[in-house]
Symmetry: C2
Subunit: 184 residues, 2 copies
DNA sequence: CTCAAATGAGACATATATGTCTCATGAACA
DNA sequence: TGTTCATGAGACATATATGTCTCATTTGAG
């Protein structure tokens, strides 16, 4: 018995999809099915078409991202701390981020809307952190958000390469964003 | 008359390839040919197969990267300054970087060797800059190189989005790497 | 103007990925 | 034991990208 309706096969497909498609967005679905330990026909029973699968993955990636960020900010006393916790929470979701970044999206409305909303949230948090005196007011918010985003992905790559733990990568990324890597 | 052998058509194909394939590595060659303003058959006259084209692009991307970096370091008095000039020189080559990063490489030996050599060069420069007292010795070289790489790409995206000039993006990326974005 | 080389348009065969379908198998369960 | 349901294997038709080829047109040098 499972808590949600027949989870394992579907979840295996989804997880395999992230692993495969976040590296090669045009990989054949047979590769995905193989990785999931599932027949190609079964994959099509859960996701009628490649488009269906990709759309589902995009929504899942964004829901997970949003949930992780919200959870990370639940017990926080400043916007700067909220950003720090968000960064830490998002590094383990690097393959989701990679998937969203690499997939050449046609422009599904739901996906686009969710993406725009998340971007806005990050920028708002950065603006608030600026108001708290945490970031230099002279640096454009857009750049801070951009650097935030890319340093998260750099951290994930670093973890994936075995060069750091999640915690170490998060600390390094946050340090880079805030005080840089120069000597004192 | 052209200084090198029949340049324009080949160059148009190469430039179009970087534009198209750095966004969607699986885009059909007909799209590339269209963007280059060239027939699909002509593209195949210059590059027999998709593999030929991709390999050529990879080598070009790395030669250009190497040349730009070397040129940038020609008149420099420290390793830190060399890194700063390299960063500035590489931002306009963002589509080359994007191509190399996104293309799922099979593992052409020449390409792999050139890539490994460039990684080593960057790490060496970072190590030397550490010895100069420029970077914090407690931060792993691998992370500094990683952040260097990703901030270059973030800068290129920022330029592409119209949010900054090349110079501004380079300044922001370098500042982020060295002293961060926090307020004083 | 004349000729040779480069090109564009398009036909063609081929390869690969996709989506559908059928059927046999095996596990869960009454 | 018998039944049901999810699955795997594989056949099949289809769509798309690829690479080759031909031929008419254009371009540029002489």
């Amino acid at each position: 018995m499972n808590n949600s309706l027949r989870p394992t096969t579907r979840d295996a497909i989804i997880e395999a999809s992230f692993e495969i498609l976040s590296r090669d967005p045009s990989a054949p679905l047979s590769d995905v099915a193989d990785r999931a330990g599932v027949g190609r026909a079964t994959l099509h029973r859960y996701f009628a078409s490649r488009d269906d699968l990709v759309r589902a993955l995009a929504m899942i990636a964004m829901e997970e991202t949003e949930a992780a960020a919200e959870e990370a900010c639940s017990d926080v006393s400043s916007y700067a701390e909220a950003l720090e916790q968000t960064l830490k929470a998002l590094i383990p979701l690097g393959d989701r981020h990679g998937f969203l970044a690499l997939e050449p999206f046609d422009g599904d409305d739901d996906v686009d809307a969710a993406y725009a909303r998340q971007m806005t949230e990050i920028r708002d948090m950065v603006d608030q952190a600026k108001q708290e005196g945490f970031f230099d007011l002279g640096v454009p918010t857009a750049w801070i958000a951009q650097a935030f985003d890319y340093l998260i992905y750099a951290g994930w790559e670093s973890v994936k390469a075995g060069e750091a733990t999640h915690q170490q990568a998060a600390d390094l990324a946050w340090r880079t964003l805030t005080i840089g890597l120069g000597s004192k």
